[in-house]
Symmetry: C2
Subunit: 215 residues, 2 copies
């Protein structure tokens, strides 16, 4: 059983149905987990609450079956409705303190941060982990501020909670990002835009494991 | 103190910031309540969760000060975050059963219904009241199915929970709508598009009271 108190953040997949194209959303996710994804975030923006709820119910079943944690982006009500493992909130979402109060101590709360002060405030407010980025320019979130590897390393050194990097990370740059000492990388396109999501995940996890000297 | 178990649904205001134009949102609402609004729903569609939360905090303060109930449209997390009196869910929002489970027995849950079967399902699922419409074509919700006064009356007769009618209701047609035996009317433009929201509310409440033979 995975641990909610110490989740495995090494290969963190954020879903994006638009990027998957004509492939089956659920099959792509299942294969990605099969390949090595260790943590799942369901992100939806233009969708009704009913559709989001139904989608989250289905993804929750996959997460349970594969035994990995699932957090919901932004929508705490959807997370509660499907009993997800937690939420991921950005700086424009509910404040982390409010999320913590509503979810209690046993749910995972992640917070997006792109600066040291945001990182410290999130940790102080009760975040379990940070999603830091965008490390590289990314097509899936074009308005994101860029965070250099030096800044990423600084954030990792200054906080005591796990740090996951996000934004334009792929097979080519993953090792350099991991070498800053962070706990994992978060990807969308590097897995979901690939024809074979299992193979893409396996390759990324292999790179991550090498940087961590894991056998 | 107003009663959450028996709220006063007679004049139910749904907010729409776009319709208010250059006037102050909060002042318009306060004046509308001062004029006679008995129930408040905060509805926002294109807004970040953080902004929705902050807006809801402010409107909650107004509702508390004027001692009327406040429900949040769709977003159960925002309702929880500001401890609103409840939520109003449409057919594309979280199912009423899920909302009831998450909010518990002491919060108000309203459900939009435009047909007898939706009305019965909502009552069965734990709704406290129904919002039935659209009664007349309306600019604030252009995709709404129209419900005739005969259908409205039928729904009111078949359910045991309060029924509020919505959609294009104004000073001219309010009496005819109330004459179907329903519990209140819900408006957006008929109050918020008016220069003087206090006067508009007072006039509507007067019409409603007359149809109910209230002195």
């Amino acid at each position: 059983m995975y641990s909610v108190t110490r989740p495995d953040y090494r290969l963190y997949l954020v879903t994006d149905r638009e990027i998957i194209g004509s492939k089956s959303f659920y099959a792509s996710i299942e294969q990605a987990i099969d390949g090595g994804v260790t943590f799942l975030q369901l992100r939806e923006k233009s969708i009704s609450s009913r559709e989001f709820y139904q989608l989250a119910q289905s993804v929750k079943k996959i997460a349970v079956r594969f035994n990995i944690p699932l957090v919901i982006n932004d929508r705490l009500d959807i997370a509660l409705a499907v009993d997800a493992d937690g939420v991921h909130v950005g700086q424009s979402d509910l404040p982390v303190e409010v999320a913590r109060q509503l979810l209690g101590p046993n749910k995972i709360i992640g917070v997006s941060a792109s600066q040291v002060d945001e990182a410290l405030a999130a940790e102080q407010g009760g975040a379990d982990y940070l999603g830091v980025g965008a490390i590289f320019p990314t097509g899936t979130k074009t308005d994101a501020r860029l965070v250099s590897l030096t800044e990423l390393e600084k954030i990792k050194q200054i906080v005591n909670i796990p740090v996951v990097a996000i934004g334009g990370i792929n097979e080519e740059n993953a090792a350099a990002v991991m070498d800053t000492g962070i706990d994992g990388i978060s990807v969308v396109s590097a897995i979901l835009a690939k024809e074979n999501t299992k193979q893409a995940s396996a390759k990324l996890l292999e790179i991550i494991r090498k940087t961590r000297n894991e056998k």
